[in-house]
Every structure is written in C-alpha cells, then in structure tokens.
C-alpha cells in the first residue's frame, strides 16, 4: 500500500465515523408526536416467520415514533420459536416482553408452567381497543380457567384450493362431498403428464391437523371425556380415506410433505387440488411465487358422511411474558399490534385476522381474494374450534397419531390401521394420564 492509498483509507474511515456520528445526533431528538409515554424503553418481541409479523414489521416505526419506545423484533420458525421460549422461560431469567404463541399447540404447556401473564385486568381497562370484537370461540381458545392468557391475532380454517382452469376444462364443479372430492381427484390425476389429483400434508405430526377436518366429517374425534378416541370405527374410516386419497391420487413423496412442500407443488402447477389452512392462500396467489396465481379457486371443505365440521381455529395469538420486567410497556405494544387499525393492514396483506368487525367491513372484504370472505362466513357457524387433540403433551400425541396416517398413506389405506390406531390411542391415553388430564 503506498502513501497515497493509506491517506485515502484514513480519509474514508474518518468520513464513515463522521456520518455515523451524524446518525447518532439525529436520534437524540426524536420526532415530537404522540405522548412519548414509553420513551427510553426497549421492548423485546419474539415472533414466528409468519405473514402477520411481516405486515407488522413495516408498521413498527410508526409505533416507535408515537410512543418513543424501541422495539427489538426477533423472528424464528414455528418450532424454533417454541424451543427458544421454552429454554428462556425455563431459565427463569428471560427478558422477552411480548411473544407470539400457538394456543392449541403450546397453550396448555405454557399455562401449566405459568409463562403467560394473565391479561384480564389490562383488557378491562382498555375500553375502545374492544375485546368484544373478538368472536367468543377465539376468546375461549386463549382463556384457561378464567384467565385470558393471550390475544388472538389470526384465524384460519380448513379449505379447499382448486385449479379453476382444470375444473372448467374437465367440466367439473368444486366438490361438495368427500365422495365427489375423491372422484374429482381421480379424474384430474394424470401422473404421466406431471399432474397429480390432490395434495395434503403427509408428514407424520404435521399431517394431524390437516386430517382433522376429514376426521370430524367422518364422525370421529381425538379425545372424548379424557380418553383418546382415535381408534373408533369412524376414525379408522377417516384414516383409510385420507391414506387412499393421497396414495392413489397424490404426488410421490407425500409422506415427507409439510405445507411448504405442498404449497410449492400447487404453486408450480403440478396439483389440481389442495386441502389446507386458508392462510396459505397468500403464497398461491402471489405471482412472484406462483405460476398459477390467477387460476386458484377457493371452495368450502367438502362434507363427509357425518356432516360438515371443518376446523376453524386460532393458530396464533400474542402474549405478554410473565417474566417481563416491563409488563405495562409490553401490553401497550400488544394492544397496538392487535388494534383494529393494524389488523386491517395485516388482513389486506394476505392474513385472515381474528376481529369480527374486519370481516364485516365491506370496504375490506371487497379487496380480499374472491371467495375467501364467503368461505369464512359459511364455515363460521358449523366449524370445530380445534384441529388437534387438546392436551399438554400435544407434540408427542401428534407424533403417535401421525404414524397411523403415514402407515395409511404408504399402504393406500389397506394396512391394519385398526391395530395401529389402537396403539396410538393407548399412547395418547398414557400422555393424558401423565399430565393429569385423563380419565383412567
């Protein structure tokens, strides 16, 4: 390096330092708007990789400007988030203030370990934020023996995505019963031409939530009166149907598929139908991610022999951590993040949010994808409010039940599923009893 170069480098470094100092100078005089009641506070927020926080991220600077708080947002995948929270909370010294949580998945686990800060008092005090705007079923999903542990942010329900163009060409109407669903899958299934009739999740534990609507429509359930009922004749029929459907008319390798794989196949135009949660529509109609963005139809999940009760659940809620050192600031953030104003923006960004007023807002509904709001209103009154067994050890139970699903898909529904289901039921019973939730 000659002398001239060295001089230039020094100049460059000095320049950088000056510009950084300039940035620092800006921060000393925050814009004076709002009441700045959280000035100087830093709120640590843990979120999942999900479209809701994606929409939230863009709005956070507004919140920071208004309140003077600084928000530190961390994002993790679903399972990583649960692990991170569990490890931090177990240590007892977590400085997490607000976190996203899955009431059906970890609600009981976190309640049992007292990791949620009950929000009843705060909610009572915040009149115009309007707790009543959340439907009763979603409020129930986040309430544990009277204590409101989180605020529901997203709703989702089982729905049927289908290719409008293929249905039209084949002269088919969207199926309204499971029989018609199978017939349509059969008709559109043409693996030699790279087209598969239907896809749905087939990966062990992840398949469980997607089997649930099939299970309910065959008249089955997970748990009844503290005992597992996944081995009843109705449940076995559901297992058989699901396995046959995916084995005969599904893509190869379906037993390794979670929703990202299924979504990728559907978006690449290789599948005619997909049953999964309504929120996943966003990835199908985004022209940047989907080759069939303008050809996607939404239909109500088909009815089974025992009626139609697809799931409609609260997959995500937001909570204040019981170990937070600044619960008031945390609640301020949560209140803002679940306000109607923010939720409308999130809804228009592709989420299906949980406030009643948004779904009744004609202006908002007009801008949604055709069929979505209509499907939501049809499912609402008939829905089942859970999509997996409601218990503390739900992860382990899902693995046990998922094994039966995998077995059924691998054998096309022909294996001895009664035996496999009985084993799964015994395992779930054992877990229920261990956690004191069973009925011996």
């Amino acid at each position: 390096m000659n002398r001239m170069n060295r001089f230039l480098v020094v100049l460059l470094v000095l320049g950088l330092m000056l510009s950084l100092a300039g940035c620092g100078g800006d921060k000393k005089e925050p814009a004076k708007s709002g009441d700045q009641k959280l000035a100087g506070k830093t709120i640590r927020v843990l979120m999942a990789n999900h479209p809701y926080p994606e929409a939230l991220k863009k709005l956070i600077p507004e919140f920071e400007k208004k309140t003077g708080a600084k928000v530190n947002l961390e994002s993790y995948t679903e399972d990583q988030l649960t692990q991170k929270l569990t490890v931090e909370f177990t240590s007892g010294k977590s400085n997490v203030d607000v976190f996203m949580t899955r009431p059906l998945q970890e609600g009981r686990l976190f309640t049992k370990n007292k990791w949620y800060e009950p929000l009843n008092a705060q909610i009572e005090k915040s009149g115009d934020w309007d707790w009543k705007d959340f439907p009763k079923s979603t409020a129930d999903a986040v309430t544990y023996s009277g204590s409101i542990n989180s605020v529901p942010i997203v709703t989702e329900w089982q729905t049927l995505f289908y290719r409008k163009d293929l249905f039209e060409k084949a002269g088919l109407k969207p199926p309204t019963t499971l029989e018609e669903l199978e017939a349509a899958a059969k008709k559109l299934h043409n693996p030699d031409a790279g087209m598969y009739g239907i896809v749905s999740r087939g990966q062990r534990a992840n398949a469980v939530t997607q089997l649930s609507s099939y299970l309910y429509n065959f008249g089955g359930d997970w748990i009844k009166d503290g005992k597992a009922v996944v081995d009843t004749p109705e449940a076995i029929k559901a297992f058989e149907y699901y396995g046959r459907l995916l084995h005969d008319y599904g893509p190869p390798g379906v037993t390794n598929m979670h929703w990202p794989q299924a979504q990728a196949l559907m978006a690449s135009g290789k599948v005619a139908m997909w049953t999964d949660a309504s929120t996943l529509l966003a990835g199908l109609i985004d022209p940047a991610k989907s080759q069939v963005a303008d050809k996607i139809g939404i239909a109500q999940f088909p009815a089974g022999p025992k009626g139609n009760h697809p799931f409609l659940v609260v997959p995500w809620a937001m909570s204040v951590s019981a170990q937070s050192q600044q619960k008031d600031a945390a609640w301020e953030f949560l209140k803002w993040a679940s306000s109607k104003e923010v939720m409308v923006k999130a809804q228009l960004a592709g989420n299906t949010t949980s406030r009643t007023s948004i779904w009744n807002d004609a202006e908002v509904v007009k801008k949604l994808y055709p069929g979505l709001a209509d499907d939501f209103k049809k499912v609402g009154p008939i829905a089942t409010p859970y999509d997996r067994p409601l218990m503390t050890a739900v992860v382990e139970a899902r693995d046990a039940i998922g094994e039966v699903i995998v077995k059924s898909i691998e054998s096309g529904g022909k294996a001895d599923l009664a035996d496999a289901a009985k084993k799964a039921a015994a395992k779930v019973d054992e877990l229920l009893n261990k956690a004191g939730e069973g009925k011996k």
């Binding site: 087939g202 893509p251 390798g253 995998v406």
Partner: protein, 290 residues
C-alpha cells in the same frame, strides 16, 4: 509465594487446561447423567423429582428406542462401509502421478467444508420425487424412479448417499497420508518376487495400510453415529419414524416433547454406545497388533 509456585509448577501449568476440560466437557456429561435420573418434563409442570433408574427402564421398554438404535447402526455401517471402500480406492488413484492431481485434491475438500444445512436443503431438492434431478437421472439410465426420502425402505440408503458424498474424501485424505509414509522396501521385494499388482495390493499395501484405515474408520464411524443436522433438515426422522436415529430421537424427546429427563437418558445411552464401540475398536487394535 515464589517458592510455592516453584514447588508446584507441574500442577500449576496444566491447571487452566484442567479447569477448561472440567467446565466444558466433564460438567455437561455429569449434568446430563444427573438429569437422566429425574422426571424433569415441562409437560407435567412442577419441580423435577429424583426417580433413580426409572427413565432407563422406560427407555428399554420403548419400541422407538430399539428402532432408533437399529437405524443408527444401519446408517453408520452402510455409510462408513461404502466410504471406506471408495475412500481407499480414491487414495490409491490419487497416489499416482497424473496431470491435474492437485486440482483433484482441492476439489475433494469441497463437500467437507460445506455447511450441513445447506447440503441438506440441496439434496432434498435433488431427491424430490416429482421434480428432482435424482429421478430424472435414473430415468435417463432407464431405471425405475425411486421415492428416495419418502419411502421407509429407501430413506436410510438415500441419507447414507449424502454422507458418502460428503465424507468419502476424508477417508481418502487420511489414507493418502498413510500411503505417503509407507516404507518402500516391501514393495521392491514384492516386485523382485514377481507379484502381480493385485497381489502387491492384497498382501503388501493393504496390511501396511490397515492401522491408517482403522483410524479413519473409527473417526468417521463415531461421527456418522452422531449424524444430526443432515437428517433433521432432510427428513426430521420421517417418513413415520423410518429415519429416526438415536440423536434425532433424543432431540425429539428434548425439544419436541420437552421431556428433558428422558432426553438425557437417551443421550447417555448414545454416549455409552459410542464409548463402548470405541473401546472395542481400541482393544481390537491392541489384540491384533495394528
């Protein structure tokens, strides 16, 4: 003071190292063994209780544990077996002089320095049954398509192929180092006696190389036994439990089910098996004088 240091010099010098080893290695192992004797689980709430060897009893009556042990052994033997044969062959080829030898040696290092998660994702795409390259290649050769990771019969071989792709070069490199240090006299003697190249390999090269190969196999075997990231990213133990090895099983128990006591028990079992295996190999080395 000075006198004290002077007198205890031989204790004082290694002290930092001893403290480090105790803190970083012995403590976690002892802590894990301790936890394995409790019923610590987040799903039951409350404080962990000491329950003696109950977890070990439960583990031994769990069919998933035996499944995991079998899969771990299957994966390790298959992967390391093929790697050894290919690795030794590769080393013998690279031991000759040819144009581009240095380039070839450099390329060998590539798979080893790639990050496991990236490898897992790339191979998952490669194996994807309907749009992946693997089946395309099979069909070009006129072979039937495979489900690769999605069938319980092919998932372990498919995972072993990834391990073989990544780690055969390591065996090759170790064996090459061994080849370079072999004495020349026995080879000359064999030539003089008129041995064929195969006979030279079978009766001279291989026996002389055996200690080196054994070291490579032990190192690789222990590593393959503990394979984690590749399996987690590619199958997470699926389909069903068809690729749930011991490490994945312990991970599921700990971070999936939050049963820390039971997960520690599974990890102690894993440690015991690895330790046992290593001891047997060491004993064999002495016994057969390699």
């Amino acid at each position: 003071m000075n006198e004290f240091i002077e007198r205890n010099l031989r204790w004082l010098f290694p002290l930092p190292a001893v403290i480090f080893i105790v803190a970083m290695m012995a403590f976690p192992v002892i802590f894990t063994i301790g936890v394995s004797l409790t019923d610590w689980a987040m799903t039951t709430g409350g404080e962990p209780q000491f329950i003696g060897l109950k977890n070990y009893q439960d583990l031994l009556s769990d069919s998933r544990f035996y499944n995991a042990v079998w899969l771990t052994v299957y994966f390790t033997v298959l992967a390391v077996g093929v790697e050894t044969v290919l690795g030794v062959g590769m080393a013998l080829i690279l031991n000759r002089e040819f144009a581009g030898k240095d380039l070839a040696k450099g390329l060998l290092l590539l798979p080893m320095v790639a990050t496991p998660v990236a490898i897992g994702l790339a191979w998952t795409l490669f194996y994807e049954p309907s749009i992946g390259l693997a089946n395309y290649a099979l069909q070009m050769l006129g072979l039937p398509a495979s489900k690769w990771l999605a069938s319980p019969n092919s998932v372990i071989p498919a995972l072993a192929i990834v391990d073989i792709w990544q780690w055969t070069p390591m065996i090759a490199l170790i064996v090459m180092a061994g080849l370079a240090s072999l004495p020349q006299d026995p080879f000359e003697a064999a030539m003089v006696d008129g041995a064929t190249p195969f006979q030279v390999f079978r009766f001279v090269t291989l026996p002389l190389l055996m200690p080196t190969i054994l070291v490579a196999v032990i190192l690789r075997g222990i590593d393959a036994f503990k394979t984690f990231d590749i399996i987690l990213t590619m199958t997470a133990g699926g389909p069903g439990f068809a690729s749930e090895t011991l490490n994945i099983y312990a991970y599921n128990l700990g971070f999936g089910y939050f049963r820390f006591g039971m997960a520690s028990t599974a990890l102690v079992a894993l440690l015991a098996v690895v330790l046992g295996g290593s001891l047997i190999v060491l004993w064999m080395r002495k016994r057969f004088d390699y």
